[in-house]
């Protein structure tokens, strides 16, 4: 039993150290996006997913944080900010036009900073 455990541990450590050496092309980034409700959540996430290279996009109603996992070789945060703004949602440095803001569903008329 003990031997088995030691063996397993050694295998893990071997693997994991290897895994850490490899340069990942994926990047985890979190940005603040202004919004209110479940509707906004759907719209923001859908907008983010429209960018090729966005692997995962989860926006939190509580914290207003959009957690992204990007393929760095294909997508940039700026691209995501642009499409999210186009959908009507402000983030840092990238504001939605008044026109697209006005088109937002009623519950999504968040307070603009």
């Amino acid at each position: 039993m003990k031997n088995l455990i030691i063996m397993l541990v050694v295998t893990f450590l071997g693997f994991s150290s290897q895994a850490q050496d490899k340069k990942s092309k994926y990047e985890k980034i979190s940005i603040e996006v202004n919004g209110n409700c479940e509707q906004c959540q759907k719209r923001i996430q859908n907008a983010a997913y429209s960018v090729a290279g966005v692997k995962s996009a989860i926006w939190s109603i509580e914290t207003h944080q959009l957690d992204l996992i990007l393929n760095k070789e294909k997508a940039t945060v700026e691209q995501v900010k642009k499409v999210v703004a186009k959908a009507g949602y402000d983030s840092e440095n990238e504001k939605a036009t008044q026109d697209s803001y006005d088109k937002l569903p009623g519950c999504c008329q968040y307070e603009r900073k």
Partner: protein, 668 residues
């Protein structure tokens, strides 16, 4: 009786102890017992550990008593084990797994659920309908997966003592230790015993078996969040002995003689399983897992003059890869499966041993539009030495038409080799002659069972007079293409096994309505309709021992937890069963005849729990409080070696009312 009195005294002495415990303030939100997940694509409900505390006792088979999706049958006099049904089909048609490794199958089909003590369980996921392809091709009516308490989340010590008026006693102790930052281990020790002979209906036979079980498991968990590696190792040993039959039966003198009728079922089982998982760095959506399980199951038994021995050595292996296509709206799971089962099986010394093995590959795609529509489409291709090469498709679709509502649809195929003797071994405790009528098939002469299952479900949550409520309507149909028919409709002296010649189907309709009547008072109700019809040699009949109409009600009430952590919990369950088709007994002499249908009846269970603090609580309860008893539990009980003897026709409780008490103590 003396034992019980002693036990109660012990309970009280522990109670006085606990009152000197320190005060503790904790804010906890109310947890629900059964969670119907709106987010899951399949029709899955999760039974939490809280719900498990409501069931009287004590093992997995008994933990579904407060759940309308699963029907728990009454334990027969012989084995004392409760069998479960889903969509009207018995447990062989349900894939029962423990931590996603198939556990109750083959030789363990009849008693396997009673080999997992309830206190070990963290949660149970119950999926109605076809289910996922990841765990195999055998599931037809549903899947039940049990998660045991994880060593990393466990508390250092847990003790549970239970005693009941049917003279059953249980002891559960859990020990947990964090060995290092990444390693934790748990040791679970379970023992149960029934010490006294009970014969409440004065038929000369025990109402429930004498027995003892010892069950040990040692679990190891390795979790390293930095590297993404997770590992579980489990080692388990179980030994279970049961004795039943006539009160005066003494195994040392009367075994396999006609002095007295008696039976012993002795099972010994060893399990070892390992799981290794790795979540890719910076890619939480991609992971790889490898599960391996080995088990050795050995049952030695006799029922009167019938002898039945089965030994199964089993190996299971599953390699799973999860990832996404493009982004997390498109997920997939793919992998390879291998199973090996070696059966050494002897029916009255006739050797029916066999070896089964299968290898398979599966792929399952999950689409989620992040809004209203999602589906899981899966398929697997298997090669099995007895079932041949075949494809298993499965589909689950969910559509949310509006807020708090979901439509679900599922369809899928299942295929399995019926272990006719292991699954129907309760029939050995009768004078029935076993005959397998077909000879061309590869499993005891029979062909594999094949069935399609389709289901439709609609669920809606809403506010009723300001109280949260929900309603669900489910309809499922199982169509058998082939079935290993178990025929007790031909003659009371025979049981026939043959390949389905005509039509066989199972329709089930379930309507659920749940509401919080007033704060902390929850009502759960369900009505179930079953139409389970099979063409037997003697004609078309409803499946014997299955009620067409069932009604279920559960009422639970809890007081607010006081600052000191004190709380009362009350729970009441009512089950009503309509008339059930009974096996044919018309050709027997009048005194050994049963009517064509059983009467309808209701059964009530109740439990009260007193929580003294977060570390100590006691509970008392009663089962079958209305004291309903089956009229004639054993046919031909006055002549057990005669032609009309049959213990297998159990449609209602045999033992009358039963009361129990227990305690739980934790060190956190």
């Amino acid at each position: 009786m003396k034992n019980i009195a002693f036990f109660i005294v012990m309970l009280f002495s522990v109670m006085t102890f606990s009152q000197e415990k320190l005060e503790e303030v904790k804010v906890e939100s109310k947890k629900k017992g059964i969670v119907k997940s709106v987010s899951k694509i399949s029709n899955t409900s999760v039974v939490t550990s809280k719900e498990l505390l409501k069931a009287a006792c004590c093992n997995l088979a008994e933990s579904f008593e407060t759940n309308p999706t699963i029907d728990v049958n009454f334990s027969d006099a012989l084995t004392g084990t409760k069998q479960i049904k889903m969509l009207g089909l018995t447990s062989p048609y349900i894939l029962i797994s423990e931590e996603n490794i198939p556990s109750v199958r083959g030789a363990s089909q009849a008693y396997g659920l009673s080999f997992t003590p309830g206190t070990w369980v963290e949660s149970i996921q119950i999926t109605k309908g076809a289910g996922s392809v990841v765990n195999g091709f055998e599931s037809i009516s549903g899947q039940i997966n049990t998660e045991l308490i994880k060593p990393m989340k466990d508390i250092p010590f847990f003790l549970n003592v239970y005693g009941a008026t049917d003279s059953r006693f249980e002891l559960n102790t859990h020990f947990n230790k964090r060995v290092s930052d990444y390693w934790s281990t748990s040791l679970f020790v379970h023992g149960n015993t029934r010490v006294a002979k009970n014969d409440m209906n004065d038929d000369g036979f025990l109402d429930n078996p004498l027995g003892k079980q010892i069950n040990l498991t040692n679990r190891w968990q390795y979790t390293n969040p930095k590297s993404g590696w997770v590992t579980f190792l489990n080692l388990r040993y179980m030994k279970d002995d049961k004795q039943s039959g006539e009160i005066h039966f003494d195994p040392d003198k009367d075994k396999l003689t006609t002095n007295y009728w008696g039976s012993e079922i002795n099972t010994e089982r060893i399990d070892f399983s390992s799981k290794v998982g790795y979540v890719f760095k910076d890619m939480p959506f991609q992971s790889i897992g490898f599960q391996n399980a080995f088990s050795n199951h050995n049952q030695q038994s006799y029922f009167g003059l019938n002898q039945y021995d089965i030994k199964q050595q089993s190996f299971y292996s599953n390699l799973i890869f999860n990832s996404i296509i493009g982004n997390t709206m498109h997920k997939f799971t793919t992998g390879l499966n291998f199973t090996y089962d070696k059966y050494a099986e002897y029916v009255n010394l006739e050797d029916v041993s066999r070896i089964d093995n299968s290898v398979g590959a599966y792929f399952e795609y999950t689409y989620d539009d992040l809004d209203a529509f999602s589906y899981i489409l899966g398929g697997r291709l298997d090669y099995h030495n007895r079932l041949g090469a075949f494809f298993t498709p499965r589909l689950h679709v969910k559509y949310k038409p509006w807020e708090k509502a979901a439509f679900r649809f599922s369809a899928g195929r299942g295929k399995r080799a019926a272990n006719i003797f292991a699954e129907n071994q309760n029939l050995f405790a009768s004078s029935r002659v076993f005959s397998v009528l077909d000879t061309n098939g590869k499993v005891y002469g029979l062909n594999p069972e094949i069935a399609w299952n389709y289901g439709l479900s609609f669920t809606q949550s809403f506010l009723l007079f300001g109280k949260s409520a929900d309603a669900t309507v489910d309809f499922y149909r199982t169509d058998f293409q082939n079935q290993a028919v178990v025929d007790v409709m031909n003659s009371p002296q025979q049981v026939l096994f043959y390949d389905l010649k005509g039509k066989s189907f199972a329709n089930s309709l379930q309507i659920d309505f749940n509401v919080e009547l007033i704060k902390h008072l929850n009502l759960r109700t369900a009505y179930k309709y079953f139409d389970i019809s099979t063409e037997y040699l003697s004609g078309n009949f409803q499946r014997p021992l299955q009620a067409k109409h069932r009604f279920f009600g559960n009422l639970e009430y809890e007081t607010d937890t006081t600052k000191k952590g004190k709380q009362w919990k009350f729970d009441y369950t009512f089950n009503w069963l309509g008339k059930q088709q009974l096996p044919i007994t018309a050709s027997n002499p009048p005194e050994d005849r049963l009517p064509e249908f059983s009467p309808s009846f209701g059964v009530m269970n109740a439990q009260i729990t007193r929580v003294f603090s977060s570390v100590f609580e006691v509970y008392i309860g009663g089962e079958n409080i209305g004291n309903y008893q089956q009229n004639k539990a054993i046919l031909g009980n006055d002549n057990p070696f005669g032609p009309n003897f049959d213990t297998s026709i159990v449609y209602a409780p045999i033992f009358g009312q039963m009361y129990y008490a227990g305690l739980r103590f934790k060190i956190k």
